[in-house]
Symmetry: C2
Subunit: 367 residues, 2 copies
Amino acid sequence: MQQFQTIVDRLGDRLSTPAPVVLLDVMEENIMRMQAFADRHGKALRPHVKTHKSIEIARRQLAAGAAGITAGTLGEVEIFAAAGFGDIFLAYPLIAVGEKGRRLRAVAGTTKLRLGIENTVAIDAVARAFSDDPDLIGLVIEVDSGAGRSGVAPEEAGDLARYAGARGLRVDGVFTYPGHGGKPGNREAAAEDQARALRGAVDALAAAGVRAEVVSAGSSPTVAFSTHDVITEVRPGEYVLNDHDNYALGNCEAEDIGFFVATTVVSDQGFAHVIVDAGTKALAREGNYDRGYGQVPEVGGVLSVLNEYHGFLTLPEGGERPAPGRVLPIVPHHVCPVMNSFDEVILSDRQGRYLGTWRIDARGQLN
Amino acid sequence: MQQFQTIVDRLGDRLSTPAPVVLLDVMEENIMRMQAFADRHGKALRPHVKTHKSIEIARRQLAAGAAGITAGTLGEVEIFAAAGFGDIFLAYPLIAVGEKGRRLRAVAGTTKLRLGIENTVAIDAVARAFSDDPDLIGLVIEVDSGAGRSGVAPEEAGDLARYAGARGLRVDGVFTYPGHGGKPGNREAAAEDQARALRGAVDALAAAGVRAEVVSAGSSPTVAFSTHDVITEVRPGEYVLNDHDNYALGNCEAEDIGFFVATTVVSDQGFAHVIVDAGTKALAREGNYDRGYGQVPEVGGVLSVLNEYHGFLTLPEGGERPAPGRVLPIVPHHVCPVMNSFDEVILSDRQGRYLGTWRIDARGQLN
């Protein structure tokens, strides 16, 4: 781990807890490392902005060589398009009816836009929303590679492509999210599933007369194994900051974690736990009963229960007992929803130098 | 339950999903019912604004007769004080050092402010922050009544009062949060624990020469049983909107639920679940593996897994299978963190009339 406690101590009064802190030097290394990986394997890197929702961070990803960005909601697309991002993939099976249809059409006039698609209802909605200028949007067909979430079976991608083509829409390629790569020990197997699904989908498109210009793969846990020839781009998100889950999966080194939440011990009544001022509204209840909801390596503690504004920091027997007023670093299990809890993030580096703050520009933006 | 599906259908294009909806008529009834209860038992009602974080909702609570409001963070205090709320209890063991000390002192110059306190570190911090004018703040000593969270044992309240008094600070009373009343079947027993703890604390204060002007009790699950003579005020929060947990606890009727989240089915690939567009960032992973993370009574479904922007809506075998594009109402387990996920809420009534929107003014405000 970073010397998080030293960083907390040096930031001192800059931290009004609970306070999210990004370590810019760690982040820059993560950005450079992933870009170098993508370059080495000839893949376009299209980072998912759901993790950070920050224009400044996304700018650094582009400056390092990213081909564009991935978004998860229409609101994210709008925020980043308004900030000048010119190449956005909305990797979500949005059904663009009503206001969302109008918004999608409007934003597509301001940026190169691709949209994930996996059913005919969604295709019909796009066809209606873009009836005046269907060239403004490219569809990317989602296939399931084992996550059991959204996406058609690979062999069905051709039928969807034909359906879209018959409605005057352009299909640019295929994508998948190998979410089962987030299970312990499953990263490489999930990446193999992903490659198989993408190959099948590319073949199905070819049979339908469509060349897959984009063949897009997830995700931070699987990207290291996503080097198959069929893949043209990768869409990791969490790598930019990392978290305890990625560390525990073997997906990053301890030194690559560039994000934590500073919290203050507010109560010690002699229980097996002390109370800190980070609860569900800050930490988003990521984790589970067994591994807890946030790690405090400095004292070997785990957040075992979260209320809204209270965290129950359970301490190891015989270990250090942090007193009320002590500020501690929490390493979250999952960085994305935690960033999304705050309007602003504090910037520092491994030395604990205060480097300012950034707005979390696309915080929320769920609908 | 309300006819949530009818409401969703009537709101139609007003809903850009995932969309939080407040039913104003249900809310008004909840406000009136709780106020009548408090009036009948001679208790001051001081609703907790953490549930709604809305100035307009808090104004209606005051208009109905509430004595003031309860806040959970300094940021909430600042937002509501700036909106003119003149009597605020920050029911949290804040340690007001650094910037927080300055902010607490500043806001106390603009509203009548009381602060929860349960350790000497926090008292020392308040004494420093208010050294110029200690009369601007009243301390309310927190005692534990069985939740095992924060708060001293009742018999220790006298020592804390003496400690505060020796530093020139005024102690106005005692409070507790009977959080164990949220366990099934435990509402009445927790309220009895609460009364016992509060009586003990009042006695301990008296022995220290301090009269407890305020004797403050929680909470939506226990308030119906919090009628003991010792109690002067009650601080429920969730009653104003309610949720599935309060309904399951027997703490409200189905017709008293005044909040839901509209969500769109975005994918159906023939699994036991369909995918909806409400995930952790909207629903905050409230609930658990056994009872799920949100109920969809209209189709007998339960959100069994949440990803960031995807909800896995597991359907009963042989039941209705909602198609992509269908908009469904989700009844959250816990209203408070869900309100906090959004910047704006849509207003309606039981008939599904569109009544505008409100900002969720104090959304976030965690630090």
